[in-house]
Amino acid sequence: MSTTTIPAAGTARADGRSMVEIRELHKSYGDLHVLQGLSLDVAEGEVVCLIGASGSGKSTLLRCINRLETWDAGSIAVNGDLIGYRSSERGGVPVLKELKAREVRKQRAEIGMVFQHFNLFPHLTVMENLVEAPVNVAGVPRREAVATAEQLLAMVGLAEKAKSYPRHLSGGQQQRVAIARALAMKPRLMLFDEPTSALDPELVKEVLHAMKQLAETGMTMVVVTHEMTFAREVAGRVAFVDGGQIVEVGPPEQVLDNPTHPRAQAFLSRLV
């Protein structure tokens, strides 16, 4: 059974294959219903920015995509493969069976993630941070992994920092290393969880620049952000998340400048 048979929410863009298909996602923490039947499609090569108030569920949604969070109902598929589950049936009724940890790890290895607080490994040098997973998870020969890492560091403008420890770098440099670390696994999809929220204002620009560069290479990206300028310049679409649902989604100029949903109007008017 392919996920495409599950009724689509009709949010996919007309052009391009779907890279991410999120269907009727529900999640609760105790009494708190964080995700309330949320659906979203992201096309291959598309950049989607998730915006919304804190506590709206946008970070939880992002963390579900690589199964850092579990959910209670619904499904997520990346590049056609269900995340965290496989289709099966019990007594003639289709069910989704949870995957083993080993299979989930394989799926995660193909999805890059960048965190708000970078989460670089402080006891490893920049180079060691970049080659750890390619060598030990993907099984890439060390020499090859080092060559790729050097290319990626050059791409984010930090070629000379390979031997530094993360704490010797500025926040902006650390976040660019984190982006390079995620890219070292050659992911098909990149997730960004408020990548500039922990940075001093003057350091935000260099990180956004690296992300913009990445978007121009055709990488599919889902970005939780409060950077409206970035969303306007780089995003194909902007999705406004509120109360665990996507209440408004569309091109940035439409969602950011002429929002129709009252909550989106209220949120955006407070930003300006």
Partner: protein, 311 residues
């Protein structure tokens, strides 16, 4: 009076003097000298006897067993402790509960009581068989023969140490930012690899000082096993003074060796801490020599950078 900004060089800065510190320092040195003089100068300590027995064959044999016991107990205890700590934090409630129970039991029973129990294990289990259920035993024999005094000491000390090591390792693991595990997860790393490669090396920063304490505690804890007639350092000293009645000089011999070994372990701990501290601070830490020099120079009003170079 205002300082003119047109002047090329502002006047030099003069640091505040601390005469009180010099007085307190001098008083402390004097006090230390008086105490040392009264001990070292006490002829009843019989330093010649101390010298005579310091490298005595029996003492050397005892010292060797003390060192072997300390390292065997620490190695096995830390390993067992790490396993118990991971069990305690596992998602399996049965494992977590059992680990908690283990720590509770072995922290509640006094070491001395535990040693006596192991020494008298034959009372509970006259015959010991080790093996899988329903299969012939791998090891079997008389408990009194299988569990010698040294084995009883090793078992008691190790099980005791493991309970404390488990808490130290658990504390160390909890001190590492959960974001580190998340980053490893997001890269597709296995839980075991995340623990070994990412979390434990960072946890070591808080584990090492506590484990160093535990190691030195174990070193001196081995003295307790003299009560079950294990021929370690203290027992060796007792063995001699029971014959010669030179009680205090032989206790001094044992003490000097304990102090020497603690000094060696402290130096070792310093270097291990330095190793696990790499990448943890913005500047590398200065060596103790450079730090002492900086303190001395600062007292004389010369300022140095934290790494030891002159500012």
């Amino acid at each position: 009076m205002s300082v003119s900004t047109t002047e090329a060089n502002p006047p030099p800065l003069e640091a505040l003097r601390h005469p009180g510190r010099w007085v307190a320092g001098a008083a402390a040195i004097l006090l230390a000298f008086v105490v040392l003089e009264s001990i070292l100068g006490n002829s009843r300590l019989q330093w010649d006897v101390v010298g005579e027995y310091l490298f005595d064959e029996g003492i050397m044999k005892g010292l060797r067993l003390t060192i072997i016991l300390t390292f065997a107990v620490t190695a096995v205890g830390m390993l067992l402790g790490t396993l118990i700590a991971t069990a305690r934090m596992s998602k399996n409630p049965v494992l977590a509960w059992l680990a908690w129970f283990y720590v509770w039991v072995f922290r509640s029973v006094p070491l001395l009581v535990q040693l006596l129990l192991w020494f008298n294990i034959a009372y509970l289990y006259p015959k010991i068989e080790i093996g899988l259920p329903f299969l012939p035993p791998l090891i079997e024999g008389d408990a009194n023969k299988l569990i010698s005094a040294t084995t009883a000491a090793f078992l008691g000390l190790t099980l005791h140490e493991a309970a404390y090591a488990a808490e130290i390792v658990r504390g160390g693991i909890l001190s590492v930012d959960p974001g580190q595990t998340e980053a490893g997860d997001a890269l597709g790393m296995s839980r075991a690899r995340i623990l070994r490669r990412i979390v434990l090396p960072q946890a070591m920063r808080s584990i090492v000082p506590a484990a160093g304490n535990l190691l030195i505690g174990t070193l001196k804890g081995t003295a307790i096993v003299s009560v079950i007639a294990v021929d370690e350092l203290l027992y060796a000293a007792q063995f001699i003074y029971n014959r010669t009645f030179e009680v205090v000089p032989l206790l001094v011999v044992a003490t000097l060796w304990y102090m020497f070994m603690t000094a060696v372990l402290s130096v070792l701990q310093y270097f291990v801490e330095r190793y696990y501290g790499r990448g943890a601070t913005r500047s590398t830490t200065a060596s103790p020599w450079a730090q002492a020099k900086a303190v001395f120079l600062r007292a004389r009003g010369v300022f140095t950078t934290p790494t030891g170079g002159k500012a």
